[in-house]
Symmetry: C2
Subunit: 379 residues, 2 copies
């Protein structure tokens, strides 16, 4: 109706709501006989709201037939999955501002804003744990962060009057965690993400692919969490520590569809371009992942494979609880919704002392470990 | 043979080796038909050695009958258990010395020892996860830490020439984590520990009981890990932040068996007394815990109870990976033996989104939660 451009925070919120719907529907469509995702809307007392969409099979507590390592009963495609969005706002204390200034030089000195600054954050976060050990776990997360001037007038964080934005950035990524290495799946996942990055700069995929391998790494195990994907943070129109600086653009920046023999585009520069990039990789999640689940869920599997899957899920728990910044930050945040933060954990995980699985390189388990210990270029 | 008194590091090592043997044997005696604990000796490349004694049932990967929530098959009393000792030495860098000076004022200023200082640490650590949901999990840990002058002569850390000790202290404790609250078990556990503390000072049990409730607390869940026990650290002949200072002793310190109408003994003061206290609580582990397992392992249980037990084990994993100082320190230590550090994790753990179990105070699960949210005085 109105021709005035909407503020980015509103556009991001609209986008992640739509993306959540699409992803949940496409996951439900894989398995029409399974229960639907459970949709919970919640309010954060300190400001904001969200919607969690979670899949779980009802627990069978009345018979003796459910199983851990072995059973094929109750064969839903998914074992546990969550697709969450949250749109929150509040006040960022000066120490947090100090930390953020390293990557966001447009922020004021923390000592000049002793009362902190208002922030706004909107994001989508998802983790899918399929039941079949041949079907990989997937994770994705895309988020927008904004810091504004203190608004001495009426509403703070509402969509009425819009305070001046001091800094904004996007972050996110997607990664794949198989229990068994099926190379064509890793290639498909990476290729789909690379293609989604390509129109926005040639440096995005290689930079964010490397960052992903570095981020999802368990030092105490000497292995990555999975076969990687994309990971990035602090993406704005400012210089970025891992990307070529905007000043290095040689021509024709900001117009991704003019084509022609101009110099290679290295990265998105404007907010508009970056948001388009986010939508492109966000929209790539379903085509990057759902076909893999559809294909692998029909494969038969053994109790041995199930056991290995649960051990790998133990490593997933280790990464998320010991290293993941989002989880750690979330658990420390007063008023955070713990159920949403920890929905990333698998339904079941297993720890065996001195487990021999994965040690022999000539086994299927050992082939996965080879890749986790030495990340590979898939494309 | 020799009448020269042995150095404390040797006496502690001898004690924890004996204690490990006794605990493992008494656990094996509960269940004569189960496999024995697996004993692994290991060497730390950076200096030191240890022995892990671990119980696990062989994984059944060939049939379809093993189960997660429900099965009563393969009914060993224990599901997973580890009793480890380690005796390690190395060099403590100046930042670590700086941190330790807060509680150990006898240490030199870190700037005066730019090359760090030699340390020695010997400890026993155990976690027992029984299979029956009515039998609680138990954890105990007793350790001795010593910092010495840099030895410019021959051997470092060996038992030959003994360098001058700059600081030493003991730490440890024991705590009980039931899935179902059986009050007489909590009372028995606490009473056995209190009795073991009593000869060494009236302030030990109340101080260390409170410390235990504070330490084994999951802020993001607003609950303790279990029903507590003892927890302490930095116990030496110096002033202690939680105990009455040695100067407040009114008479007759250092002789615990003189008795008489002297003023009440508040805490152990000499190294000899503290080591006796450590042995007293260490020796109390078997009588505090084994009778409980023997009694509860004969109770029948339902799949519903097994499901709740696995959810509680998920909380155990959360505590150990997110908060436990020993685990975090261990995982960050180069050359640490990850298998020994993470043997504390249960064989299986479970995470359900928005699990309703425990919310209704009138259920057995809710009764446990009431105690975890409001720690109780058991004696």
């Amino acid at each position: 109706m109105s021709s005035a451009p909407q503020p980015m925070r509103q556009r991001v919120e609209d986008y992640i709501r739509k993306l959540q719907d699409e992803i949940v529907l496409s996951l439900e469509n894989i398995d029409p006989n399974a229960p639907k995702f459970k949709r919970d809307s919640w309010l954060r007392p300190q400001g904001g709201s969200g919607q969690s969409c979670v899949f779980a099979m009802p627990s069978t507590t009345t018979d003796d037939s459910d199983s851990n390592i072995a059973s094929h009963r109750h064969e839903s495609v998914l074992e546990k999955a969550g697709v969450n969005i949250s749109i929150v706002h509040g006040t960022l204390p000066p120490p947090a501002i100090k930390q953020m200034r390293a990557d966001h030089s447009s922020l004021p000195l923390p000592e000049d804003v002793p009362g902190g600054l208002p922030f706004f954050a909107a994001g989508i976060s998802l983790v899918i744990h399929p039941r079949n050990p041949n079907a990989p776990t997937a994770h994705a997360n895309y988020r927008y962060f904004e810091i504004t001037e203190t608004n001495n007038s009426s509403s703070s964080g509402g969509s009425g009057s819009t305070p001046k934005v001091l800094a904004w950035w996007f972050g996110g990524g997607a990664d794949l965690t198989p229990s068994y290495l099926i190379e064509e799946d890793a290639v498909h996942f990476h290729k789909t993400l690379k293609d989604a990055c390509a129109p926005f700069g040639s440096q995005l995929y290689p930079t964010f692919k490397k960052w992903c391998d570095e981020y999802f790494y368990l030092p105490h195990r000497g292995e990555t969490r999975g076969v990687g994907g994309l990971f990035f943070d602090d993406l704005s129109e400012l210089a970025h520590v891992r990307l070529p600086s905007p000043a290095s653009y040689t021509s024709d920046i900001g117009s991704i569809d003019k084509g022609g023999p101009a110099a290679e585009k290295l990265r998105p520069e404007t907010q508009e371009e970056i948001f388009e990039f986010i939508q492109s990789v966000g929209n790539a999640f379903v085509p990057s992942y759902v076909p893999i689940v559809q294909k692998r869920t029909t494969m038969s599997y053994t109790p041995h494979q199930r056991r290995w899957q649960l051990i790998r899920r133990g490593r997933y728990v280790e990464f998320n609880l010991v290293y993941d910044r989002g989880t750690k930050f979330g658990l420390m945040t007063p008023g955070a919704r713990v159920e949403s933060i920890l929905m990333s954990l698998p339904e079941t995980a297993r720890w065996e002392y001195m487990c021999e699985l994965g040690e022999d390189q000539d086994t299927e388990e050992g082939r996965l470990m080879g890749v986790l210990k030495n990340p590979r270029d898939w494309l």
